[in-house]
């Protein structure tokens, strides 16, 4: 009796020890450091197709003076209102995660228009360590837009509540893209959050060309890395010194980071739902540099002030004002060929409704030229009004409708045989999908 029992107990004990050894040898659920380079979670694709109705002069995108993404078909005179479908944009966003503090964002996009363009939009690394302590640090480095816009969000830098951004943020999207490194430090106290961002960059030596030769515009076309933007007819002297295009992501003054630009941003989140942003940009370029294509360096600086506030639970108010200065070319008769001051502002109110939003925005913009080669003939004043609505149809599908009216006064339109003052109307219906 006792012998049997002991044998049984030994057998049971051995079985238990064996089971525990096997269990112990099998790997515990691993903590792989959060690495996820390529998986369904790291990839997103988006597409945007539209129905567009537009009248007026030929758009800047086709080499005219028109302020909108789309425009009339005739370069010589304003067109009547007409409706047409358009493929706007398709994006692939890849966001690999290298560790819990280091991730990447790469955005490739195909952009519709007269010609379909494809290319790289942004490619940057983001570092965001988890640290206790009063000061939180983060950084980004690569090809990216500086953090100016209050209208864009998400890795694909999409306009959230309307189709077309303000004049200020349209310019950022089309001409102010940099290759650089940015760091942010933020701290919180008493319900306030203060962040300071600083960056060193290069490859934006021609920023200011579009604003000078074409003026402000309102559209959602993005500049792709190393791609070009068209210019309207130039004056007689500039026609000999500048091609009818400009490359925004461009290094012309002696080599990458030999003459770096910088930007700095101060953000103050108040204890109430309101945030103030102050932004300063200076590309520190040499206005006398030129490359073999006859593209010149532009010394461009600007200040931007932004305000976001939520006056009530379902209302968002946004406003920005930008003041800047661009210099290009050699001094002649006491002034650089181009000495242009630019300014623009907008105020926008968004009301969040069931499954979407409604937004209204007013834009004001203008430029003043005091240069020796580009003079007041290229001065500009204008305004735009926009009404937009967004509705989420399903988790991955949304529709936006937008009406825009723009009016601008630009004497340089005479070069295209057009009257200085031109109005423009554009209606867009956009279907956006995301996977």
């Amino acid at each position: 009796m006792i012998g049997e029992g002991t044998g049984g107990r030994v057998a049971a004990k051995t079985a238990l020890v064996l089971a525990m050894t096997i269990a112990g040898a099998a790997p515990l659920r691993a903590e792989p450091g959060g690495t996820d380079i390529l998986s369904a979670e790291t990839l997103t694709a988006t597409a945007d197709v539209r129905l567009v109705g537009v009248d007026g002069e030929q758009s800047w995108a086709n080499g005219g003076f028109g302020k909108l993404r789309y425009g009339g078909d005739n370069p010589a005179k304003p067109s009547d209102f007409s409706l047409k479908p358009a493929f706007a944009e398709a994006d692939i966003v890849w966001q690999p995660r290298f560790s819990w503090s280091l991730s990447g964002t790469v955005v490739g996009l195909v952009q519709g228009g007269d010609k379909v363009q494809a290319g790289l939009s942004e490619a940057f690394l983001s570092w965001k360590p988890l640290e206790s302590g009063q000061v939180k640090l983060s950084a980004r480095a690569g090809i990216m837009w500086p953090p100016v816009s209050l209208e864009h969000s998400g890795p694909e830098w999409a306009v959230t509540d309307s189709i077309t951004p303000s004049a200020i943020n349209s310019w950022i999207g089309e001409e102010v893209k940099i290759l650089g490194a940015e760091a942010t430090a933020s701290t919180q106290f008493g319900g306030n959050k203060i962040s300071l961002t600083g960056a060193l960059f290069d490859m934006n030596d021609t920023a200011g060309a579009l604003l000078t030769f074409r003026g402000w515009a309102l559209h959602d076309r993005k500049i792709l890395a190393f791609d070009e933007q068209p210019l309207p007819p130039l004056n007689a002297m500039m026609s000999m010194l500048q091609p009818r295009y400009t490359h925004p992501l461009n290094e012309l003054d002696g080599g990458y980071m030999k003459r770096p630009g910088y930007y700095a941003k101060l953000t103050w989140q108040l204890p109430v739902p309101a945030r103030i942003e102050l932004f300063h940009y200076d590309n520190a370029s040499n206005p006398e540099s030129v490359n073999y294509e006859l593209e010149w360096g532009w010394r461009t600086k600007f200040n931007d002030i932004g305000l976001v506030a939520e006056p009530s639970d379902k209302t968002l108010f946004r406003a920005q004002a930008m003041f800047g200065h661009s210099l290009m070319g050699y001094p002649m008769n006491g002034a650089n060929w181009i000495d242009m001051r630019f300014r623009a502002g907008y105020a926008m109110l968004t009301r969040y409704i069931d499954k979407g939003s409604i937004s209204a925005r007013l834009d004001l913009f203008g430029t003043r030229n005091h240069g020796s080669a580009v003079t007041s003939q290229d001065d500009e004043d204008g305004w735009a009004a926009m009404l937009a609505g967004r509705r989420n149809l399903a988790k991955n599908l949304s529709v936006l409708a937008e009406i825009m009216h723009v009016e601008s006064d630009r004497d340089a339109r005479a070069r295209a045989g057009l009257a200085s003052e031109q109005p423009g109307n554009q209606v867009q219906l956009s279907l956006r999908a995301r996977w």
């Binding site: 959060g34 819990w100 965001k128 988890l130 953090p147 100016v148 969000s153 939520e310």
Partner: protein, 211 residues
């Protein structure tokens, strides 16, 4: 004799129970509107309170890029589970003195858990999604309740002693974050309305331009 003492004890027990009332607290804001997610705690003045035992499963879910619930009350030594219902990863953390932890969660349907062994308020965030926020109030007393959508919290079996009533809310704008007041001894059912001044909650649509 044993039976007599037994009946006497029973009598005392009944008497004490009869002396324990219900306290209904209504919390309203400066505008008179009900305040939910306020935590009311009663402690005897000069004495300790019986501890609350873990009951059921405590969860703070992540879905729609937010924590649910926003405020939860758990007893000391409770384990809270953090199931991730979003189709992407979260990196949940807290640096609160009551519990410092970090959970590197993976995609949908993965869960981690944390043991909360100290009383206090734990502020929870996600390092990837800055707008995610939750609070876990770890309590050492059974007389704790959280106000619901109508601003009401009910504490039962309140003993007939002098008590200190503490009120906490994530947006309470008071130094120390907790407001205290004395509560007189009473065995009766009673109700109390407390008006609080709260900071404005962070806007839901404010993260425009988040890069």
């Amino acid at each position: 004799m044993r039976h007599f003492i037994g009946w006497l004890l029973l009598l005392f027990a009944c008497a004490s129970a009869a002396q324990a009332g219900t306290l209904t607290v209504r919390v309203v804001g400066a505008d008179g509107k009900p305040v939910s997610d306020a935590v009311v705690t009663l402690r005897p003045q000069g004495g300790s309170a019986p501890a609350l035992r873990p009951q059921g499963r405590y969860e703070v879910k992540q879905f729609d890029t937010q924590f649910h619930p926003f405020v939860s009350v758990v007893p000391v030594s409770a384990t809270v589970y953090f199931p991730n219902l979003d189709p992407f990863k979260h990196h949940v953390y807290s640096f609160s003195p009551a519990k410092t932890f970090e959970l590197k969660l993976f995609a949908k349907d993965q869960t981690r858990s944390v043991l909360f062994d100290k009383a206090g308020v734990v502020a929870v965030g996600c390092n990837i999604h800055d707008n995610m926020s939750a609070f876990i109030y770890v309590t050492d007393t059974v007389w704790t309740a959280q106000t619901d959508a109508s601003g009401q919290a009910v504490i039962r079996d309140v003993p007939a002693q002098a008590l200190t009533l503490s009120l906490w809310h994530p947006y309470l704008s008071v130094p120390g974050g907790v407001s205290n007041e004395a509560l007189a001894a009473s065995g009766a059912d009673r109700s109390k309305t407390i008006q609080v001044k709260l900071r404005a909650p962070p806007g839901h649509h404010m993260n425009m331009g988040a890069y």
